[in-house]
């Protein structure tokens, strides 16, 4: 039971990183990124491939984070030129293309079979110890990211991002340049998503393209809206609710054994879809958010 709780916390911590990443891009800058899972996938595969090639895990993490951040540069170039709705669809397409490349470039990624045996750090600590150490690593990553984001958001750069979100024309008329700031927000967000991907790959120890379907992006969108757009604590709370929702549905099957696993998956998706709709309509600023904030 304790082991399961640790596993939940680790997953929750990974989703929290993703939610913080999206919240920096959408909540603080207004970039409608529908391709978050693409950066997550690049982080996971980048780190897994490097570690499987025999390099230290830390090098894998660095490669995963950097390749996700680098990939954000061309996407950032698009962001400057497109309206929200177009940017949303283009990023959605981007994440699908990332997945297609992973499926098709079998020489590198083993395609749809996935990469098994991604090394897990702290193996020398035994099963329980390794889990606990990994949780500590995830928590440490979250703390560092939260501190960095708080600094970024509170800095003049962060205020510039929020000004871009609220009224880009005014920002231009004040002599600031939104394009560079937007690209930086995307790159920072992508790096965080890449970190989440690396943490995920080395925890699950197995990566396969099906883990990186667009649905993951919308899980994170739901978590962000649930917790409250533009609130760091909201991102953490939203991620917690998300993991409870994703994992809690397993217990429903214990209570009602007649429900098949595939049926449960469908019911879970219906629930996620409905929550997304209901929150967008009735509580677009989250459970605790107030409309006056934006």
């Amino acid at each position: 039971m304790l082991g399961y709780l640790v596993a939940l916390l680790i997953l929750g911590g990974i989703y929290a990183l993703l939610t913080i990443s999206l919240d920096l891009q959408y909540g603080h800058t207004g970039l409608v990124n529908f391709g978050l899972v693409g950066f997550f996938a690049v982080g996971a595969y980048g780190s897994a491939l490097v570690a499987l090639a025999g390099y230290p895990i830390a090098v894998g993490f660095a490669v995963g984070i950097c390749s996700a951040a680098l990939l954000a540069l061309p996407i950032g170039g698009l962001a400057l030129r497109l309206r929200d709705d177009y940017f949303a669809i283009v990023t959605l397409g981007f994440s699908e293309v990332v997945r297609l490349v992973i499926v098709n470039e079998e020489w590198l990624t083993k395609g749809g079979l996935g990469l098994p045996g991604v090394p897990r750090p702290f193996a020398q600590l035994g099963v329980g110890g390794a889990e606990a150490a990994y949780l500590a690593l995830v928590v440490a990553c979250n703390v560092i990211v939260v501190l960095v984001i708080r600094r970024v958001v509170g800095s003049p750069f962060g205020r510039l991002l929020q000004a871009i979100r609220d009224n880009e024309t005014t920002v231009v008329s004040l002599g600031k340049s939104p394009p560079g700031a937007k690209v930086r927000a995307l790159v920072i967000g992508a790096a965080i998503a890449g970190l989440a991907g690396a943490l995920y790959a080395h925890y699950i120890t197995f990566v396969v393209p099906d883990q990186f379907l667009p649905i993951v992006t919308f899980y994170v969108w739901m978590a962000m809206i649930l917790g409250g757009v533009g609130r760091l604590s909201g991102s953490l709370a939203g991620a917690a609710v998300l993991v409870l929702l994703l994992e809690g549905t397993r217990f429903v099957r214990d209570l009602v054994p007649s429900v098949l696993a595939v049926e449960m998956a469908s019911i879970r998706l219906i629930l996620i879809g409905l929550l997304l709709i209901v929150f967008v309509i009735y509580r677009p600023y989250g459970v605790f958010g107030s409309p006056s904030r934006q």
Partner: protein
């Protein structure tokens, strides 16, 4: 088989596929022009249409009955989506409607998979008869499908340009405030819009299901090609969407000898990104700010 007929066959296949993409793009464009958001549930409307058509086939209906069932189901989900969700989001930022349409898509797809399962279902093709003209094979199912698609497009364009409600729809698309001020009842326009978009997507879904296989993920995979076609043709331009679809369909098929079957979707992504950067109003669209 010589090279010429090889490419001719590919192009022909692409033409039928393109007409199908064009139908979905047409529906996307109609909603975009009047409702002013990209409806990401368009693909899942298609899935519902395909399952309704398959249900009609299961009960012994022929292609006409199947199309009717697909249209009815499509219109039903279109109207349901509007009255339950999108109507409440009028006047809100575009992102709200876009996110809600994503959520709706998940709901439709999962409701379908909950009741029908994930196994793909196939329309029996029987013995495929084909006319052979100098190595170019024209299958009679493709002729049927192309005919149905063209008929749907013609009817849609006729409704838009020849009927009062079509004129009102175009008026709202052109300038919503002005349309309202001149006494156009938006309720009626929206009803017609969503019924029409639903019917078109329903038929497109049925066609896709007949050509490939009916599965819950059927329509979602078509969202990107449909959006690419809509952008290539010009956002808001119904005829442009159809032409964009046909061009994309043919380009996809002709590229398969080099790119392979599995990178088809990537081609729509490239077409989409390049078009938005180079000529954002599309080939046939009016100049409108997309930046």
């Amino acid at each position: 088989m010589n090279t010429w007929s090889f490419y001719a066959n590919l192009a022909l296949n692409g033409l039928v596929e393109g007409l199908l993409i064009g139908l979905a793009a047409l529906a996307l464009n109609l909603v975009f022009a009047v409702g002013r958001f990209p409806n990401a549930a368009t693909g899942d409307f298609m899935t519902v249409g395909a399952y309704a058509g398959f249900g009609a086939h299961y009960l012994g209906g022929n292609i006409v009955v199947q199309s009717g069932a697909a249209m009815l189901a499509g219109a039903a989900v279109g109207l349901l989506s509007y009255f339950a969700v999108f109507r409440k989001l009028a006047g809100r930022p575009m992102v709200a409607a876009l996110l809600a349409s994503i959520g709706l898509g998940f709901v439709y797809r999962s409701v379908v998979s909950l009741f029908a399962g994930h196994d793909p279902r196939f329309f029996p093709m029987g013995t495929v008869s084909a006319i052979n003209i100098g190595g170019v094979r024209i299958r009679d199912t493709d002729v049927w499908l192309a005919g149905i698609a063209l008929l749907c497009m013609a009817v849609a364009l006729a409704v838009l340009h020849l009927t009062p409600v079509g004129r009102q729809m175009r008026a709202v698309a052109d300038n919503a405030v002005l349309a309202q001020a001149s006494g156009i009842r938006s309720r009626r326009v929206m009803f017609a819009l969503w019924a029409m978009a639903g019917m078109i997507t329903g038929v497109a879904g049925l066609m896709l299901g007949i050509r490939t296989a009916v599965s819950p993920e059927l329509g979602w995979g078509m969202l990107l090609p449909a959006f690419a076609a809509a952008v290539v043709g010009g956002v808001g331009s119904p005829a442009g969407a159809i032409l964009g679809g046909v061009m994309l369909g043919i380009a996809q098929e002709l590229s398969t000898p080099w790119l392979g079957f599995s990178y088809k979707i990537a081609l729509s992504f490239v077409a989409l990104a390049v078009m938005l950067l180079v000529r954002p109003q599309g080939l046939f669209g009016q100049k409108e700010a997309v930046r």
